[in-house]
């Protein structure tokens, strides 16, 4: 899946990946790949600016941690981030239900005058 296809949904996807617990940048990327069954394969370098944007918007909190001898920036959801994830989910469900209904092959017109 290309970055353009994901545009507009990346924020929600990143928040969802962080829902189970804190992760650093590369672990977020790996979780994206695994959870999408390999469908989502963005240039890893473009995920970091998106994380910084979420941090500025107060949806995630980042802290430097030195576990395992390498300093990594670890991201975790804030309460505002959890709320934003909930609303992203609702929006996506409504949207995808509507589009699914619209894209279904229409039954043949039974009685056209």
């Amino acid at each position: 899946m290309r970055a353009e296809t994901l545009k507009g949904h990346l924020d929600g996807i990143l928040l969802a990946v962080l829902e189970p617990g804190p992760r650093h940048g590369y672990a977020i990327m790996e979780a994206l790949r695994i959870r999408s069954g390999g469908q989502v394969d963005l240039p890893t370098g473009t995920v970091y600016p998106a994380l910084h944007r979420l941090e500025r918007a107060g949806l995630v909190r980042a802290t430097w941690s030195a576990a395992g001898g390498r300093r990594r920036r670890v991201y975790q959801l804030t309460p505002a981030g959890r709320r934003a994830l909930d609303s992203e989910r609702t929006t996506w469900r409504d949207f995808s239900a509507a589009v699914t209904a619209l894209l279904q092959p229409a039954p043949p017109a039974a009685s056209s005058p």
Binding site: Y26, P43, G45, P49, R56, A57, L59, R71, R72, A80
Partner: protein
């Protein structure tokens, strides 16, 4: 390089070359860039480790990690708006925080200098039309600074989620706030100089000197910050 933790030196230098390419494309102060580059470095080393665990030799693993991170220009472009917003936010916050302090020093100067004058405060400025106009101009400059700084802070924080992404908005607001502060402090110093020339005996020296020093320092810093905001703004396409 000990940071590489066992990665071959040529692999590490490929990573460093890639990071240097991104650094060269990032705008803003070195401090902001250092944090971004450190984070990307740790990510690249994690990616290199992952490729090594998958069986690649160190040099190829590093190259695979670099490929995975993507075009340096694209990574830098993603960060440009973030650097701009972060810098603008810091500038706006420091202008908004220092404004009242500098203002208080000027008020203290005015109060202590006029203790001997038997007139109500609103009549002091009335003594000289030039001073009155000058104080009005300072008030306008202070108003512009405060308004632009509040705008810069509001649009780079939590509100940014609900606003259309316009990367130039924050550096523009911060630059306006910076030049507004330059105007306010410059006018304050100018008024002080004219007062010194005309009615020097009435000024109390200690608050006046403190206010002048504070305004001069703020003017210098605000000018530099505003110029940097304009430079960052120009780098955004």
């Amino acid at each position: 390089m000990n940071r590489q933790g066992g990665t071959a030196p040529e692999a590490g230098s490929a990573v460093e070359r890639y990071l240097a390419e991104i650094t060269a494309l990032l705008p803003g102060p070195p401090r902001a860039r250092a944090g971004i580059v450190a984070e990307l470095r740790s990510g690249l080393l994690d990616a290199t480790d992952a490729h090594r665990s998958a069986g690649l030799p160190p040099a190829q693993a590093a190259l695979a990690a670099i490929r995975e991170f993507g075009d340096p220009a694209r990574v830098a472009a993603g960060f440009k708006a973030e650097v701009a917003a972060g810098h603008a936010r810091r500038v706006a916050i420091s202008l908004l925080a220092t404004g009242p302090l500098v203002g208080l020093l000027w008020v203290a100067t005015a109060l202590s200098s006029h203790l001997g004058v038997r007139a109500a405060p609103w009549q002091w400025a009335g003594q000289s039309p030039g001073l009155r106009v000058g104080i009005c101009l300072v008030a306008v400059a202070v108003g512009i600074t405060a308004w632009a700084a509040v705008l810069g802070i509001a649009t780079t924080g939590r509100l940014s989620r609900w606003l259309p992404a316009r990367p130039r908005r924050a550096p523009t607001a911060a630059a306006v706030a910076g030049f507004g502060a330059v105007g306010a402090d410059g006018l304050g110093l100018l008024l002080l100089a004219t007062q010194l020339a005309t009615t020097s005996g009435k000024l109390s020296p200690i608050p006046a000197a403190a206010a002048a020093a504070a305004s001069l320092a703020r003017l210098t810093l605000a000018r530099r910050a505003a110029r940097r905001c304009l430079a960052i703004r120009a780098s955004l396409t």
